[in-house]
């Protein structure tokens, strides 16, 4: 033991660097999909910024984020579903139905915003319970259960809306359209004064990030494990902080941080925690990776699947609220085929259709890739036909690249 420590200390700088490179290599290898998608995202953005001088403006980028929010939130939930080896085709219908519920509770029954939202979330959870029950306890394939769920929700949507469009109040619409208020200094998109609330939140996020990174590092050292050498560590910190700062500053220079993006950040953080840090998350991956082995390891598969669908239902409701608020009304056709965008986002972000693999951050990047393509092509006046085709091809290409890079690795 003591000898071991000595030799470890004697490792010269070159040896340490080599070890660090190994760690970096391994982490890149394990997250190759996220990195490639992220680079692809930057690439797409560069191309559009060259083709259109509007693309890179804070105004356009902020709109882009706004358009992505609900898809990205829904993608967080569907990652769990797909990782567990299931699928949820009812997302779009749930978004439509819950959105309508939220709108109608306010317009027709005069409920306040808070109770309306609460009931809507409960409706989402109940839909999730229903679907989860059939999948987990009655062993009906999720494909069928959620296909049926989609039809049922579409029917209910038509019923509750009576085919009419219900407008929502401007206060409610803020959830999907507006930005956090400023705290101290008024700022407009035209001046170069950054939006102060956004900057404060940015500082909080960065501080929290630094806190966790340093605590992790200290803990690892106290366990006697390898850590990145200082230079690499600070380089990594600088990169991540730079990235966080860029996103926030873009928004700060326009109208600030939108509510919906704030919600996305909270949910993204929460789901990242769930998938990487909790036993529940670990169980979900194990179930998708090898259901039989998971069962024999004592995992309560039924309960886990039920919870996964409840989560998807609740996120569906949140998506429904944000989407309705963004559009400003609930219509009988709302949410139609939104599930396809959501599933595509998750899959582009590296979620394996066979289950067992996938990350939240990947899905959010996936959602951004799709939204960026859409936004950029709109700016370039590309027609709907071409836009749909391009997005389809991108989905295909992303999965193909993934499969062939995996083959090479093994």
């Amino acid at each position: 033991m003591i000898e071991n420590m000595k030799t470890e200390k004697d490792l010269d700088q070159a040896g340490k660097d080599k070890k660090a490179l190994e760690i970096i290599k391994l982490s890149i290898k394990n997250n190759i999909r996220q990195y490639t998608m992220f680079i692809a995202l930057i690439g797409i953005m560069i191309i559009f910024s060259m083709l259109s001088n509007v693309f890179l403006t804070p105004r356009n980028l902020s709109t882009l984020f706004l358009q992505t929010a609900h898809i990205a939130i829904l993608a967080c939930g569907v990652v769990l579903v797909i990782v567990s080896g299931n699928i949820d085709l009812s997302i779009g219908a749930v978004v439509g139905l819950t959105g309508a519920v939220a709108a109608i509770l306010q317009a027709r029954y005069g409920l306040g915003i808070a109770p309306a939202i609460l009931i809507t979330l409960i409706v989402g959870a109940v839909i999730g319970l229903w679907q989860g029950y059939w999948v987990a306890y009655k062993n009906v394939p999720a494909f069928i259960v959620t296909l049926a769920g989609m039809m049922i929700c579409n029917g209910l949507l038509l019923g509750v809306t009576r085919g009419e469009t219900t407008a929502t109040s401007s206060t409610f619409n803020k959830i999907g359209q507006s930005y956090l208020p400023t705290l101290f200094v008024e700022s407009t998109p035209r001046d170069m004064i950054p939006h102060d609330t956004t900057i404060i939140i940015m500082l909080v996020v960065i501080a929290a990030y630094l806190f966790f990174e340093f605590r992790n590092r200290k803990e690892r050292i106290s366990y006697g494990f390898d850590v990145l050498p200082k230079t690499f560590f600070f380089l990594k910190l600088a990169l991540v902080i730079g990235l966080i700062a860029t996103v926030f500053i873009i928004m700060a220079l326009y109208l600030g941080l939108p509510y919906s993006i704030l919600i996305l950040m909270v949910i993204g953080g929460l789901y990242t925690f769930i998938t990487t840090k909790t036993t529940f998350g670990r169980h979900v991956y194990a179930i998708g990776g090898n259901r039989e082995a998971a069962k024999l390891s004592g995992i309560n598969i039924k309960n886990r699947i039920l919870m996964i669908f409840v989560s998807s239902g609740i996120l569906g409701a949140i998506g429904g609220i944000i989407f309705t608020a963004r559009v400003g009304s609930a219509a009988a056709s709302a949410g139609q085929s939104m599930e396809l965008d959501v599933i595509a986002a998750a899959i582009i972000g590296g979620t394996s259709t066979l289950g067992g693999e996938g990350t939240i951050i990947g899905a959010i990047i996936g959602a951004l890739v799709m939204a960026t393509l859409n936004n950029g092509m709109l700016l370039l006046d590309v027609g709907t036909t071409q836009r749909l085709i391009v997005r389809g091809l991108v989905l295909l290409a992303a999965v193909w690249i993934d499969i062939s890079s995996r083959k090479k690795n093994n």
């Binding site: 670990r282 990776g289 090898n290 004592g298």
Partner: protein, 507 residues
């Protein structure tokens, strides 16, 4: 000048972080049976995958020469047409297809895409005769036992005119009879001029069948020698592990304590044939600090008995289980685990591992509670715990983050064993725990079992290898067609007695 049909020269193959093969040389003479032995993770399977083109030319260094001609296989099709047939450690048959379809999968006799089934059936019949299988060619694979499936694999590879047949641990899952049968077939092939590379951890078989033996260790060729009478099993072991193993079965005298688990009148019906009893009114006890061996032939119901007790098998079950004098209801594996009953499955790929997860995640899967608090899973603690097992069981891996699928077969087994050790069971059922494990590691596992027993764990071990059952059990129950036919103390037990009762013989 060389009379070698195959020469592999200085083969080097690297995976991220591992040098799996480090200039390995292997020469095969025409018409010989050549055994390839080595510890888990030594590189045997990898070497064969290089040879068969699974790892294409360019992904490794070194030369492959067949009949004097250098070869550059870029896929398995090319190696097949050069006369190389390989049967992998994991069977690759399509379970829902029949024998004939499997044999000609990808090589169907066809004209313009229309398959000539008559010809295929005739040809299958002929091939099945060659391997001594008299099932009909349209039997589905699911309905065949593992021994017969193995024969179908062989028939499949000889359908492609092999000159060199490679068998990677073909008998790991076979019982003695099936194994003997397989060895005879290989001997017959040899007379017909087919050479064979035979990989096995069962040194008795290696002794019995090989003309020459090559030992590899840590990705290097250690030696190649003729398998003549002067070569003993111990001699081979020393070459493999680089040290002597004095006692493969470390016999320790245990003093069994109180009864931990009591099973009364356990009856399990066949889930497919509801009227048929698979386990018929079985009662037994497992005691603290004792190794209970379950012997029997394949299909006697040992696995079904234990899986049903564990809550993982059967729908219609009657009987009673007491653990520590309390009657327990076990409906699902998690109930069993909560009550301290753990079960190591005989099929690690299907029931044991999550292949896409890494080593540490697999080890902690059944005991996440131990390392998780309100702040979630403590990853540092996880690494620490997993690392202890990797060290204790000498799991060969470049890092804890290695995916389970990238481990060698034997090391995968050690990962699953670690998983159950971590769950700190009171009663641990080990179903074929040393399948595919090298002698050195076997010995280590027996030592671990003995340690567990010393700590008061009750061990129940199922094994098809009689020497293993005889070597480590304190008490042996022999099963035949769902019933216990004998209970033997280790001192009175021997192979003949066990076989007598296992085949249904009476007292």
């Amino acid at each position: 000048m060389s009379n070698y049909i195959l020469e592999m020269k200085d083969i080097v193959k690297e995976f991220p972080g591992v040098r799996a093969l480090d200039s390995v040389c292997l020469n095969i003479k025409a018409g010989e049976i050549h055994a390839l032995v080595g510890e888990n993770g030594a590189g045997k399977s990898t070497l064969m995958k290089v040879l068969s083109g699974v790892y294409p030319y360019g992904s490794y260094e070194g030369e492959i020469i067949i009949d004097g001609k250098p070869q550059k296989f870029s896929n398995t099709k090319e190696s097949e047409s050069a006369g190389i047939g390989i049967i992998y450690q994991e069977l690759t048959l399509v379970k829902q297809m029949n024998i004939c379809e499997n044999i000609f999968l990808g090589n169907e006799f066809n004209s313009h895409g229309i398959i000539d089934w008559n010809k295929a059936m005739r040809e299958t019949k002929r091939l099945l005769e060659m391997v001594g299988l008299n099932d009909s060619p349209d039997t589905k694979i699911v309905n065949l036992g593992i021994g017969k499936q193995q024969l179908v694999e062989i028939a499949k590879s000889i359908s492609k005119n092999v000159k060199l047949l490679i068998l990677d641990e073909p008998t790991a899952a076979l019982n003695e009879n099936d194994s003997e049968n397989l060895l005879n077939i290989i001997r017959r092939f040899k007379r017909e001029g087919i050479s064979c590379i035979y990989i096995s951890h069962k040194l008795k078989e290696v002794k019995a069948i090989a003309d020459r033996i090559t030992v590899i260790r840590d990705g290097k060729t250690i030696e190649t020698f003729d398998n003549d009478a002067s070569v003993s099993q111990d001699r081979i072991i020393t070459g493999m592990v680089g040290r002597e193993i004095t006692q493969l079965f470390p016999r320790k005298v245990h003093t069994p304590g109180e009864t931990l688990m009591k099973v009364k009148n356990w009856t399990v019906y066949n889930p497919e044939v509801p009227d048929k009893k698979l386990i018929d009114d079985v009662s037994f006890e497992a005691r603290k600090g004792e190794i209970l061996g379950l012997a029997g032939l394949m299909g006697a119901g040992r696995t079904e008995l234990m899986m049903s007790l564990f809550g993982a098998y059967g729908e219609k079950i009657s009987g009673e289980v007491e653990i520590e004098d309390k009657t327990v209801k076990i409906k699902e594996p998690r109930d069993a685990i909560k009550n301290g009953l753990c079960y190591l499955s005989e099929d690690r790929k299907k029931n044991g591992l999550v292949l896409m997860m890494d080593i540490k995640e697999n080890i902690t899967l059944a005991s996440l509670k131990q390392i998780a608090g309100i702040k979630g899973i403590n990853e540092n603690e996880e690494i620490k715990v997993a690392n202890n097992y990797v060290k204790a069981l000498k799991i060969k891996t470049p890092s804890l983050e290695q995916k389970a699928r990238n481990l060698s077969g034997g090391n995968q087994q050690k990962v699953v064993i670690s998983k159950w050790l971590m769950a700190s069971p009171k009663i641990l059922v080990l179903d074929e725990p040393t399948r595919g494990i090298d002698v050195g590691a076997k010995n280590e596992i027996y030592n671990i079992i003995n340690d567990l027993v010393d700590q008061g764990v009750s061990i129940i071990i199922i094994s098809s290898e009689l020497p293993e059952i005889l070597g480590i059990s304190d008490r042996i129950l022999v099963m035949h067609e769902g019933k216990f036919t004998a209970e033997l103390d280790w001192q009175e037990a021997n192979q003949e007695k066990i076989m007598h009762f296992a085949t249904g013989g009476g007292h």
